[in-house]
């Protein structure tokens, strides 16, 4: 056992290490990489079903509640020179529009996607909206029998310290804030946010935490999404959903769709297209509608509808998302200064 043998051992060890790295890269079966912002509990079974149906292995990256959608969007931007994500399943729309502006999305004329209304898809085929959720006020009925009906009322001193929202830098809360910049205009929205802060609004890590704290009765009410509120109702907590309107001039329910898009230069474009078509298929929308998350289907052919208890007179609030997207940077800059500074 001499120097030669030791050298052989060392070279062998190095080769094995490299083979290990390479082996991890080698694709023995077709695969697709998904960055998924929808809650893991709702999206994982669907992705697993796709795996079983097609034999394509899905490699997902899930979000955490506190950095919803924005965190994954930043990953895609950071990896732009060497993309490793094939498909981005966003649970809101504005961060997908930001990716589109940066030309990080690939166009694809999805045959299933084209069955959706025009307002739900990009003309260039860079994104498709499906299965929406609504922004609601979850209210603990034991703590607050007479909740407010509009966002404007939330700044009333009588609700001081009784309202919770998720960190407005991430997820649907950020989308909601940026959309208010488009609906109300920047000055009015900034003023509203300042008054909300002065009214001791509680900032929690995510929408799920908002729903949980209201369900537990620690906080009287909170702004959250329908799926989180439904989970509390299903658990038998003393809560109800209020389909809160923006103000008297802007009636209607604020609805945010899930959005799927392909990433430009993603390593598995063919498999990604198959997954995109699968996610947009009516059966997936039906599953999301009838499942625990109670998502609102947007495909005209889907018959199933979630039991949300939506007021009959309420219609969806028409939101100009492209306009909201133009206000994103200003809105987030304001939120950072106002809600993350001393």
């Amino acid at each position: 056992m001499t120097e030669r043998w030791r050298a052989i051992w060392l070279v062998g060890l190095a080769s094995l290490s490299m083979a290990g790295i390479g082996g991890c890269q080698a694709q023995s079966s077709p695969e697709v990489v998904v960055y998924c912002a929808l809650d893991r509990g709702f999206s994982e079974p669907i992705l697993q079903q796709f795996e079983r149906d097609t034999g394509i292995k899905v490699k997902p990256v899930y979000d955490t509640e506190s950095t919803k959608s924005v965190g994954l969007r930043e990953r895609i931007v950071n990896e732009a020179s060497r993309p490793r994500c094939d498909l981005f399943w966003n649970n809101e729309i504005l961060n997908t529009l930001r990716l589109e502006r940066e030309q990080l999305l690939a166009g694809y004329a999805s045959p299933v996607g084209n069955e959706y209304p025009e307002s739900c898809r990009s003309p260039a085929g860079t994104w498709y909206g499906f299965a929406a959720r609504a922004r609601v006020l979850i209210v603990n009925t034991e703590k607050e029998p007479d909740p407010p009906k509009t966002l404007e009322e939330l700044t009333d001193p009588k609700w001081r310290g009784r309202l919770a929202i998720a960190k407005p830098l991430f997820g649907t809360t950020a989308t909601h804030v940026a959309s208010l910049f488009a609906i109300w205009g920047p000055e009015k929205t900034k003023d509203w946010l300042r008054r909300l802060k002065e009214n001791d609004v509680q900032i929690l890590a995510g929408n799920k935490q908002v729903a949980l704290q209201v369900g537990a009765g620690s906080i009287a009410m909170g702004l959250t999404d329908t799926d989180d509120a439904l989970a509390e109702i299903a658990a038998g907590r003393p809560v109800k959903m209020v389909f809160i309107e923006t103000d008297q001039q802007n009636p209607g329910i604020f609805i945010i769709p899930n959005v799927v898009s392909l990433i430009r230069g993603g390593p598995n474009p063919e498999q990604a297209q198959k997954l995109l078509d699968y996610l947009l298929s009516p059966k997936v929308e039906e599953r999301l509608a009838t499942g625990e998350s109670g998502q609102i289907p947007l495909h005209p052919g889907v018959q199933a509808a979630p039991q949300l208890g939506t007021p009959e007179e309420s219609a969806p609030l028409p939101v100009d998302f492209p306009e909201a997207f133009k206000h994103w940077d200003e809105a987030m800059s304001f939120v950072k200064d106002e809600f993350t500074a001393p």
């Binding site: 991890c24 537990a216 620690s218």
Partner: protein
């Protein structure tokens, strides 16, 4: 020990190359890359200077949290260490086993336990408020104290073992135990206790798991939030630098002041407990009992089921069947998908790699001059005290590029690298302390026989230090198993570390699944703690 020699054959040159490569890639790059890149960024400087109120606010919150942890952990830790090393503490092996399990249990586990007690679904109802100054801070403080106390106790116990037995015995001839403790024992341990303080205070400084969940704005949380929101993470890194540098300086000075006998066996003086001590022990056991809260909380949450009336919840009930189902589900899904197996593989590889790198570096530092040794200590301390998200950002900047580095970045090796970097300071401390006590005669004899440096290291030094290497491996593996702050940022698609999964579940609130995952994680740590205990024991009992 200072042994110097010149490289003379290809093996020695290979050893030198490997050592320098390890020094650069595992110790220097992860800390100096972000520091230099933030330092060199002009716009980051401008933002940092222009936003002084934010910096001061972050500094205040970080220091407050660290202070809470220190104030609670250090006195309790020292008292526990005294009980373990100077008084009878039966059953001693069981106490050490619990201590080691607690030391390597991840923050997410403590967080899960605490949420099971006071969270929205916990069994103690606490009104929640983030607007009050101490809203999230209280919960974050409790979690860090729970996680920091075993570290404080273990560090203080190691420190107390270094005190000269004769001094204490002579002191006892003329004074009582309390006077000996306060006038002889503790003053000798001051450098160790300062070091232990920094180690305990490091968690709030470097981790964002707890601060993210309880919305406490520390420096590590700021870096993480800025990165995840596409904000100015360079500024956040720059803001964090002074505090990290200050803590590093204190730790380096403390290590420098430590006697060179750390870890050596001394037969500790055994004192007899009087009524005062017994009262104190009762208080200590009471304090230790607070660990039962999160543990019981997890057990309770594990099998909890709702009893619903026609409209709403009418009560809660614990059912063994539900608990077993969730545990089985967590275990089977981990095994079926191979996630748990891959967790073990990654932890073992990271532990082995960290031990090997630590061995190379320790061998280098021990044979080098004082300047190089101090530089090594400073670099290791800096690595230990750098926030996880900062290291994560550095890893992305270094590895996320085409070519071989990109291949590593896309594979599980990036998680192994991250875990290795995180556990390296601990492994380095253990291996260096052990190699520094090696008998010079052994090395000289090997050298006289014409052995190369490579042969001396691999055939003489490392085999003679096997218990320390085993300990370093176990510490590395346990740290790797729990690593989250970096993995959260760099984890490649398809990789699903248990710590990350537990963290994601925590964000969904404490529930059955989360409790089952936490208990599974605790079980794994407890299994690792058994050989860890025997390694520590054999190391402390072995003569140099």
């Amino acid at each position: 020990m200072t042994l110097r020699r010149r490289p003379r054959c290809w093996e020695d040159r290979l050893l030198a190359a490997l050592t320098w490569f390890s020094l650069g890639s595992f110790l220097l790059l992860p800390v100096f890359w972000p520091a230099v890149s933030a330092w060199a960024d002009g716009s980051a400087w401008k933002s940092a200077i222009g936003d002084l109120p934010r910096s001061l606010s972050l500094l205040r919150t970080t220091l407050e949290l660290s202070l809470i942890v220190l104030t609670a952990c250090l006195p309790l830790g020292v008292l526990w260490a005294l009980k373990l090393t100077r008084y009878s503490a039966s059953p001693r092996p069981a106490v050490w086993f619990v201590l080691l399990t607690g030391t390597f249990a991840p923050l997410s586990l403590y967080t899960g336990g605490w949420l099971s007690v006071v969270g929205p679904m916990g069994w103690i109802h606490v009104p929640y408020s983030t607007t009050s100054r101490w809203g999230g801070m209280f919960s974050a403080g409790v979690v860090h104290v729970l996680a920091g106390l075993p570290w404080a106790a273990a560090s203080a116990a190691l420190a107390l073992r270094t005190v000269n037995q004769e001094w204490e015995e002579q002191g006892l001839l003329v004074a009582g135990p309390l006077t000996v403790l306060t006038c002889i024992t503790l003053p000798v341990c001051i450098p160790f206790l300062v070091g232990a303080s920094i180690v305990v205070a490091a968690a709030p400084l470097t981790d964002m798991t707890v601060s993210d969940l309880f919305v406490v704005r520390t420096f590590a949380e700021e870096v993480y939030t800025q990165f995840e929101s596409g904000g100015d993470s360079k500024t956040a890194m720059l803001l964090n630098l002074p505090l990290t540098a200050l803590c590093t300086a204190i730790l380096v000075v403390a290590i420098d002041q430590m006697p060179q006998r750390m870890g050596e066996t001394t037969n500790c003086v055994r004192l007899k407990a009087g009524w005062r001590e017994r009262t104190l022990w009762a208080f200590l056991w009471l304090a230790a009992g607070m660990y039962l809260l999160p543990f019981t909380g997890l057990l309770w949450q594990w099998g909890l089921s709702s009893v619903k009336g026609p409209d709403q919840l009418v009560g809660l009930q614990w059912r063994g069947g539900i608990a077993w189902n969730y545990f089985q589900q967590a275990f089977e899904s981990s095994l079926l998908h191979g996630d748990l197996i891959w967790d073990f593989v990654r932890a073992a590889l990271a532990g082995a790699l960290a031990t090997w790198v630590a061995s190379l570096l320790a061998w280098k530092f021990v044979r080098s001059g004082r300047g190089m040794q101090k530089f090594g200590v400073a670099a290791a301390c800096l690595l230990f005290l750098t926030p996880g998200p900062v290291i994560g950002l550095a890893i992305i900047e270094i590895f996320n590029r085409p070519g071989p580095l990109g291949l590593i970045y896309d594979s599980m090796w990036i998680l192994i690298y991250a875990a290795t970097v995180r556990s390296l300071p601990f492994c380095l401390a253990v291996v260096t302390a052990s190699i520094a006590r090696l008998d010079e005669g052994l090395v000289d004899a090997a050298r006289c026989e014409g052995a190369s440096e490579w042969t001396i290291l691999t055939r003489a030094v490392l085999p003679a230090r096997l218990p320390a290497l085993c300990l370093a491996f176990l510490i590395g593996a346990a740290t790797a198993m729990n690593e989250l702050a970096i993995s959260k940022i760099v984890s490649p698609p398809g990789e699903d570390p248990l710590a990350l999964r537990t963290f994601q579940l925590l964000h969904g609130g404490a529930g059955n699944e989360q409790a089952a995952q936490c208990l599974l994680l605790l079980l794994i740590i407890a299994v690792v703690a058994v050989p860890l205990y025997w390694s520590v024991r054999s190391l402390l009992r072995s003569k140099a």
